[in-house]
């Protein structure tokens, strides 16, 4: 083998070793999570640890739903995340269009400030406000505060998307006598559908994952899943199997969505450096 080929071979080997080293912490972590959730309590507290559940059991998952009101929490999470995402699209997409078309850099900067502010700084005043309004214990405060996460994500992703669209088609529509609202609704919107998908997925995921707003604002029956997993399970039972099963139930929709829509998600994340909360 000549030197050039050897160097190439070593380079490839180094690359594969690096990728393996980088990816394995993520993969092993989620496999261990799965393993914990499929083992009985005896195996979960065994030393040395039991790695492969034998036999695997679904008891932990059944336990989670049987002993707790997990169905309610799941419904709460679905309602909150879908409402917050839907409202964010309704308000955020036109806003992003307006900002992109009028090249309002200052408005874009304002969105960035929302991205930068710690969630707790909204929570103290809003907590009092919702208390005065008697809304604590309903899902309304959760939907409203989740807008703090979802609106900036939608606006930020969509500004980039609208700026990338060619303006000629809307221009032609305007020349034909359409007003800007029609140009937006019938020309720009259909073209922006891929961008809307990205914005929708990201805003849904980060709303679903949110913990801090729920921890402060949710009542006993209005907990979202992340809050329920933390509050209910860690205090009322300390066994690892059900805890891991519950954690998996909470995060499984998000992980599946990421696996299925990886291209869209990567595109959106790269564009905005988006993160909720």
């Amino acid at each position: 083998m000549n030197r050039h080929l050897l160097r190439r071979f070593l380079g490839r080997l180094g690359l594969y070793a690096s990728v393996l080293l980088l990816v394995s912490p993520a993969v092993l972590f989620f496999l261990w999570m799965l393993s914990l959730s499929l083992k009985n309590e005896l195996d979960n507290t065994a030393w040395p640890p039991v790695f492969i559940p034998n036999p695997p059991t679904l008891d932990n998952f059944i336990d989670v739903f049987a002993k707790n009101d997990f169905l309610t929490y799941t419904i709460n999470s679905v309602i909150v995340s879908f409402s917050a995402t839907g409202l964010a699209l309704l308000f955020g997409v036109p806003a992003a269009y307006g900002i992109a078309k009028s090249k309002a850099q200052k408005a874009a900067a304002l969105i960035l400030i929302a991205r930068v502010t710690p969630g707790l700084s909204y929570l103290i005043p809003l907590f009092l406000l919702f208390q005065w309004l008697g809304l604590i214990g309903t899902l309304v405060p959760l939907v409203i505060t989740h807008l703090v996460i979802t609106v900036p994500i939608v606006v930020w992703v969509m500004i980039g998307f609208f700026e990338g669209l060619p303006g000629e088609l809307e221009e032609a529509a305007l020349m034909d006598g359409a007003n800007i609202w029609q140009a937006f609704l019938y020309v720009a919107m259909p073209l922006a559908r891929p961008g809307i998908t990205v914005a929708m997925i990201l805003s849904f995921i980060f709303s679903w994952n949110n913990f801090i707003f729920g921890v402060v604002l949710a009542g006993r029956s209005t907990r979202t899943l992340p809050v329920a997993v933390y509050n209910v399970l860690t205090f009322e039972q300390i066994s690892w199997g059900p805890l891991a099963a519950a954690a998996l139930i909470v995060t499984a929709p998000v992980l599946l969505l990421t696996l299925v829509m990886q291209k869209e998600i990567v595109a959106g994340l790269t564009a905005g450096g988006v993160k909720g909360g």
Binding site: V19, V155, G167, N209, A247, L259, T270, G273
Partner: protein
């Protein structure tokens, strides 16, 4: 390039700002109102019940002598520094790896991104189980490798490094994605010239890739800085600031002050100071972005 709006013949008829009015109203209600109200509360002695007398800048003065707050600030800065540097180094390395073509690259990249998409509370609970000193899988791995076991988050000296490890595991993918976006936009000719000149991989990285993607690394650094300062979920779930106050960052102390001790006035003053700190850094972010836009 989209059609120029301002110079068009019908420009005066296109009031695009109207599209932003509903969203602006929401921002005003959910973001601006809380800010104003926080400022208002920060100059009052505000508990949840009872009178709320005006106390001027007392809450701010209290911070200067509050040992617990001051150590939280120092702790936050040390946690943040480590939680920026580690993901940055690993993220650039990962981006370089994922920029080259290899089999199953798409799958590998998706798996690598999973930690940042997963629900923070869920992964925090699993990490907590892994950190268990007697039964945790991490100590099994350490002892199997012939290393001494660690007390992870149950020891005041190891708790912050352990939390930095979780943060790094979770957020290295974001750095990777941003830097990868930068590498993808690079021209290929410098590399072709370098290969002809017999440059090796390290030389190409050091003298071509690194200078060209530097603006992207800076963007990733500032985003990471802001997120690390704001870290809440993982610390709250894994340690709740403990043991003692060994991992109590500003954000955790803030939460405790407001929602465990219900000292809303003092907590509001802390929010203001914390926000100013973050805002200074976000101005840095804007500058970096502007420079990027010029390119």
């Amino acid at each position: 390039m989209s059609a120029t709006v301002a110079s068009g013949p019908r420009a005066y008829g296109r009031r695009y700002w109207m599209f932003a009015v509903p969203a602006a109203l929401i921002v005003l209600a959910v973001i601006l109102f809380p800010w104003m109200f926080t400022l208002f509360m920060s100059v009052h002695d505000w508990k949840v019940t009872g009178e709320t007398p005006f106390v001027g800048l007392d809450n701010y003065a209290k911070m200067l002598t509050d040992e617990r707050f001051l150590s939280a600030v120092v702790r936050t800065l040390w946690f943040t520094t480590a939680a920026v540097v580690a993901p940055l180094l690993l993220g650039v390395w990962a981006a370089v790896c994922f920029a080259s073509k290899f089999r199953l690259r798409g799958l590998a990249r998706t798996l690598f991104v999973l930690p940042m998409m997963a629900t923070p509370v869920a992964i925090s609970l699993v990490w907590t189980m892994m950190f268990h000193p007697q039964l945790g899988v991490l100590n099994y791995i350490l002892t199997s490798a012939g290393l001494p076991p660690s007390n992870w988050v149950y020891d005041t000296t190891t708790v912050i490094p352990t939390l930095v490890m979780v943060e790094t595991w979770q957020w290295t993918p974001l750095v990777m994605l941003i830097v990868l976006g930068g590498i993808a936009s690079l021209p290929t000719d410098p590399y072709e010239a370098a290969i002809l000149d017999g440059a090796n991989a390290w030389q190409m990285f050091r003298h071509i890739t690194l200078p060209l993607v530097w603006p992207f690394i800076m963007v990733a650094a500032v985003i990471r800085l802001i997120d690390a300062l704001k870290t809440f979920d993982t610390i709250y779930v894994i340690t709740l600031g403990g043991p003692g106050t060994a991992s109590e960052t500003i954000n955790i102390l803030l939460y405790q002050t407001a929602f465990a001790y219900y000292d809303l006035g003092y907590a509001s003053a802390m929010v203001v100071v914390f926000f100013v700190l973050i805002l200074l850094i976000s101005l840095l972010l804007l500058r970096v972005r502007q420079r990027e836009d010029l390119r």
